[in-house]
């Protein structure tokens, strides 16, 4: 039996649908975090009937999204990435948490594969979830889905605040100019003043060694609390973070410095 030549390209296309061929997985479009976020948000927007989407990076499942009626009802991350739910029940805190989790998934190294599972139509709507529009607006406001670099330090300040547990921006004299997030998690004015004095004494050495401006991060592993501090930027920004937000904050920093889309 011979195949009609016209069908060969079609079969080839089907075979090339992704590394996950045969496992019911298909690739998520995009190589950058921003492109993948865009694809995931579009996936949410286009999902009417209840679905569970398991996202894999290589063989590992990195996140599970429960989606219905164009809304992200729930997101569960792999245990190694799971962070504490927001203390606050406000809409802003919830969407910030969800957006951070989505960005974490989208930022995983290697190809991302999507596995779709069908859920019963009577999925309990006990939570309103987040609409694709809300997510788009959030990422748009924090410049995550922009095509180009953020361009200004001010953009980093705003975008990092959305990911930080607490954040303080301060001037060269150590005077706080903006505080956001959980006040209890933020350093006091005395600590900020002492830090500013240290920073000013480091600047020339740091310029010579690594180049300014720079982003200084203190962390003891990929999870747990971490601290990110801009050096050589005005104002300086100190962000207290959950450790798993560090890669996203680094991407924001790169973009604010004109290095293109987050990797």
């Amino acid at each position: 039996m011979t195949l009609d030549p016209a069908i060969v390209p079609l079969l080839s296309d089907i075979a090339g649908l992704g590394n996950g061929a045969g496992t019911g997985r298909r690739p998520i479009a995009g190589s950058s975090t921003a492109e993948r976020l865009q694809a995931i948000v579009e996936l949410i927007a286009g999902t009417v009937l209840p679905r569970s989407y398991v996202i894999h990076a290589g063989e590992a499942a990195v996140g599970t999204l429960t989606v219905a009626s164009g809304r992200l009802m729930k997101i569960a991350l792999a245990a190694s990435d799971a962070s504490a739910k927001p203390d606050s029940d406000t809409r802003e805190a919830q969407i910030s948490y969800v957006a951070q989790a989505l960005a974490l998934v989208a930022g995983k190294a290697g190809d991302l594969l999507l596995e779709t599972n069908y859920l019963a139509d009577d999925l309990a709507a006990e939570d309103v979830g987040q609409t694709a529009t809300e997510l788009r607006d959030f990422f748009g406001a924090t410049n995550w889905l922009a095509d180009g670099p953020a361009g200004e330090d001010g953009d980093y300040l705003t975008a990092a605040a959305a990911l930080a547990v607490a954040q303080v921006a301060f001037d060269a004299e150590g005077q706080p100019v903006q505080r956001t997030g959980d006040a209890k998690a933020a350093p006091g004015d005395g600590d900020i003043h002492a830090l500013a004095a240290e920073l000013s004494s480091w600047q020339s050495e740091l310029e010579e060694l690594a180049g300014l401006p720079a982003l200084l991060v203190v962390r003891d592993g990929p999870s747990g609390r971490a601290m990110a501090l801009t050096v050589g930027a005005d104002p300086a920004v100190l962000s207290i973070l959950e450790g798993n937000a560090v890669p996203q904050v680094k991407s924001l920093w790169d973009r604010s410095q004109g290095d293109g889309a987050p990797s």
């Binding site: 190294a109 690594a210 962390r219």
Partner: protein, 125 residues
């Protein structure tokens, strides 16, 4: 494994690592170093001196201990030209490891690689 071997291993363990050194912060002496390309001693002296300033900074360590990063955390500096990582030795509190990496190094892989090499260096003593 000798300290030298452990530092050589650091070049492989830490992503995009170009040079590594081990410094005694109390005396300022660089006790061991290794690079992918030959670098003058002044390069390692300067890196060790700056690591000492950062890791002994009271303001930074107080903040890290209280708010995020921890007393034993590593300090990663993503600079405009390259990335540096400084971390205190696991064995001797006044010794430190310093790494210079390319700007392409990813934060998570970098942290994991440094912590792994820190363990290797600790086993060298």
């Amino acid at each position: 494994m000798s300290l030298k071997d452990a530092l050589v291993a650091g070049l492989e363990t830490v992503p995009d690592c170009e040079a590594v050194c081990y410094v005694d912060m109390s005396s300022g002496l660089v006790l061991g170093s290794h690079g992918r390309s030959r670098k003058p001693q002044e390069f390692y002296d300067r890196m060790g001196a700056f690591a000492t300033r950062v890791l002994t900074s009271a303001a930074l360590s107080n903040l890290a201990e209280t708010h995020g990063g921890g007393a034993e955390g590593c300090v990663v500096i993503f600079g405009a030209r390259n990335t540096h990582v400084f971390v205190k030795s696991k064995t001797f509190n006044d010794h430190a490891l310093c790494y210079m990496c390319a700007t392409t190094a990813e934060p998570d892989a970098l942290t994991i690689g440094v912590m792994e090499n820190r363990e290797t260096v600790a086993n060298a003593f």
